[in-house]
Amino acid sequence: MTTSYLASSDDKTAAEDPGAPLLELEDLHVEFRTREGVARAVNGVSYTVEAGKTLAVLGESGSGKSVTAQAIMGILDTPPAFIPKGEVRFKGRNLLRMPERERRTYRGRRIAMVFQDALSALNPVFPVGDQIGEMFRVHEGLSKRAARAKAIDAMDAVRIPAARQRVGDYPHQFSGGMRQRIMIAMAIALNPEVLIADEPTTALDVTVQAQIMDLLGELQRERNMGMILITHDLGVVADVADRIAVMYAGRIVEEASVFDIYSRPAHPYTKGLLESVPRVDEKNQRLRAVEGLPPNLMRIPSGCPFHPRCPYKQEPVCTTERPPLYQIGPGTGAACHFWEDVRAESQAEFAMHKEGGSHAID
């Protein structure tokens, strides 16, 4: 326990450092201690979310994006999850060291989260209206009626049709996309300072998705909200993100501004990812994918964890030496020993594609 935080924890406002970044992760580790072994889901993640900005977290499925988010929220079940190391600082205060009672006041109100799996994340036995309204009741002490009225507004905001009639309905009565929107409505209900959105729009059609992203963008501008957007939809990322962090095997393998990532990825995994997007001109061809299986988190490969799948791999450096996050530019980094080669190559390809290629829809 860091004494300085402890000493200042009596006075909440004093402890928060207005100069510090809104949310800062430093060397966060999360492991699941199971009978079969220790699964190291997050292995030293560090990133920063600035007020009013969006950090998109991309990455392989199973690379630890959701676990990181849950660690920030402090909702991992212990056991099996343990955080052996790392800090999560909100305006300079380490959330991980905060007494549970105090930390609760941050959840929902200052940091909110949209869960990936909307159906199981909603309580099956309460009307959705009550679940949204609970935010107002718990944090703002509103009456049941007033909370419900606000819940209807929130549902309207996320464009759920006939919200007034359907506030009393239960989660299972809604479609997948509607549930997801209810989660979103709940998360933004209290205008949090940080919003962690874990794949918030996967179940939404593009028109609604656009509207929801607009809504979030608006909120962000109005309230200066910082957002962590976990998504697989590169289109959405391209539209809204300011910065991007790419995760692989529990680590950040590349971090850059949105423009850099798309035009000249410096990590082979990122590059592979971008190449996997389906394109209309290749309709009858196989999609390109990063070959190979994701690593077993109980036995993460030595050296660069990506090396078994990496086309740029060179023995022995890649198999023995873990690449640090090489700093490429200000706030830009890539964890590849040969990032320069990769970057150069992708830049060249990008230019070519600009000339002749076309996207799926354009």
Partner: protein, 311 residues
């Protein structure tokens, strides 16, 4: 749902027939001479034997006896007790007593069982959890007669000045007269209920929606009482319903110790005397009560968990 309820209510008719027939057959099957049973240890004299055989149609085969009984029942006549009192009077006097006892017992059981179970569930395998387990088990292992009696002795006699609780009879009225006996009967079901609460709570505490509630910043107490409890309520209310049945079944001890004129002790006496009209009357009403109770509980399932549909 309306149709379901209607269907359930209709099903009560065959249930009543089944119950009365079953009880009738069971009383019929009781060993020993019926007349002798009604007379206790005294040898009935021949004139009385004739009288009783005639009165209870004892010479008829079971079906005929039953038919005659049901015929009377159809006109609302529950028959007479062996002491020649109308069974309806008996039911009117004794049912309210037992129902009040059951109600108070269930309230105690629910309050204590849920409370204790929740705390034990939150601190799984902790000291409290273990203590509760052992305590409730000791309560299960010691006959309720002893427990009730000790309670009566301590609270009613030794600490009378402190508690001011009546310890016998119902003349002090509801709820005073029922507090101690109610508490006593509640002890029986406490072990199961607290354990059940604890277990279902543990199962649910790890679900995703609890995690969501935590992420929403909902206070712990509210998470338990509002979010988790409702999801765990179905087996719990089922158990509480079943406990009402066992309370009524074992009320004989409590009713005897606390001198409550309820159906429990009546049933014990009547079974011994093979007093069919009384037993059938009591059981029929009891089954009716359970049929309604279980219907309400089943409907509660759908209220507690909207995913449950009846149609």
């Amino acid at each position: 749902m309306g149709r379901y309820t209607a269907r359930r209510l209709l099903q009560i008719i065959p249930v009543l027939f089944g119950t009365t027939l079953l009880i009738f057959a069971m009383v019929y099957a009781l060993p020993g001479d019926k007349v002798q049973r009604i007379s206790g240890e005294k040898k009935p004299d021949p004139a009385r034997v004739l009288y009783l055989r005639h009165k209870y149609n004892l010479d008829d085969p079971l079906v005929v006896q039953y038919g005659k009984y049901v015929g009377k029942l159809a006109s609302g006549d529950f028959g007479e007790t062996r002491n020649q009192r109308p069974v309806t009077d008996l039911l009117k006097e004794e049912y309210p007593v037992s129902l009040k006892l059951g109600l108070v017992g269930i309230l105690f059981e629910a309050a204590i069982g849920l409370g204790v179970g929740i705390i034990a569930g939150l601190k799984r395998n902790g000291l409290f959890d273990r203590t509760v387990l052992i305590t409730t088990l000791v309560l299960v292992s010691i006959p309720s007669f002893v427990i009730c009696f000790v309670l009566q002795l301590l609270v009613g006699v030794k600490w009378r000045g402190f508690f001011h609780l009546p310890v016998s009879g119902i003349r002090d009225g509801f709820p005073e007269a029922f507090i101690l006996p109610g508490f006593c009967v509640s002890l029986l079901g406490l072990a199961v209920l607290s354990r059940l609460t604890r277990t279902t709570l543990i199962e649910n505490l790890r679900s995703d929606y609890v995690r969501t509630a935590v992420a929403k910043g909902v206070p712990r107490r509210r998470i338990i009482t509002v979010h988790t409890l409702r999801n765990t309520m179905i087996p719990i209310i089922t158990q509480i319903g079943a406990d009402l049945s066992s309370i009524m079944g074992t009320a004989v001890v409590t009713e005897t110790v606390f001198n409550l004129p309820g159906v429990g002790q009546q049933m014990a006496q009547s079974v011994r005397a093979a007093d069919a009209p009384v037993i059938v009357g009591i059981v029929t009403l009891l089954v009716l009560i359970y049929a309604f109770l279980n219907l309400v509980i089943d409907l509660m399932y759908a209220v507690l968990d909207p995913r449950i549909r009846y149609d």
